[in-house]
Amino acid sequence: MAKVIVVTSGKGGVGKTTSTAALGAALAQRGEKTVVVDFDVGLRNLDLVMGAERRVVYDLINVVQGDAKLSQALIRDKRLETLHLLPASQTRDKDNLTAEGVEKVIDELRKTFDWIICDSPAGIERGATLAMRHADTAVVVTNPEVSSVRDSDRIIGLLDAKTKKAENGERMEKHLLLTRYDPTRAERGDMLKVDDVLEILSIPLLGIIPESMDVLRASNLGSPVTLADAACAPALAYRDAARRLAGEQVPMTIPGERRGFMNKLFGRRAA
């Protein structure tokens, strides 16, 4: 059965788009039909991170307004045939996105895809609530930093109030994805610890993604980090997170905590 995931955070720049692309590609690599949907109308970026910016013809709003068929707007990934992108509009007014229109598109996507991953815009306004409205599961992207944690708390409140699931009295499944985690800063005690964030937000942990140049490099190349370099640390962390999303039990590793003593010694000196 199709599963609709919203990748959300409240705060901007925490890694929602990066995570949508990476998780989408990791799920598609499992052979499951996956579509990543950009809800960030006016500030679309998912097409860039996916390396499909020159292939966009129609977008979500065209489909919502009936100017294009869903099949015309969907872009199939060049690397993975199970991976698709539904881009956002760059120029149109975001007021064209209606709750009913979005529902129709999501219902249609449910018929053909196993995973529908919605990349939410920042904020707590209409764009963000539309992106989460039809989700079965939420991935709350959070950085170990005070303002990001506070905004995630607001978003968790919205997920429990403004979604279809919440309105029907059902429980909204929520997962915490801790991104841009810096082991050196954590060791120095200048970054919130994983346990601190978990205790404050009290939702289950989906994964911890380390801060890494590999993420930047992947987006420069226009490739989800899980495809750009399958062996790099953030790719491994995203792949584990995708497996957990799919219901597998995967042991959690905190970045940096597997380093040996010598490594730690030198790592500390370098910091």
């Binding site: 005070v146 970054m191 919130l192 601190d196």
Partner: protein
Amino acid sequence: MSLFSFLNRRSSAPMARERLQVLLAHERAQVGHSDLVGLLREEILAVIARHVQLDQDKVNVTMQRGENVSTLEVDIEIPVTASVRAA
């Protein structure tokens, strides 16, 4: 940064954690609060409007949170000329 201040410097994460815990406890209570009062106001209005014509702006619902008990205050102004609807 001198060696002395480096040795004296306490890590900042525990402070972040503490501030967040206090702040979020406060913000969560506020959100729950305003939602509840808004809901009560709407439903009370609907019930009364079934029987009396009301000016929506003349309905005040406030909640006072105390340590042990909270009180709900409902203040509704009904004009003398209001037409009373048959029940």
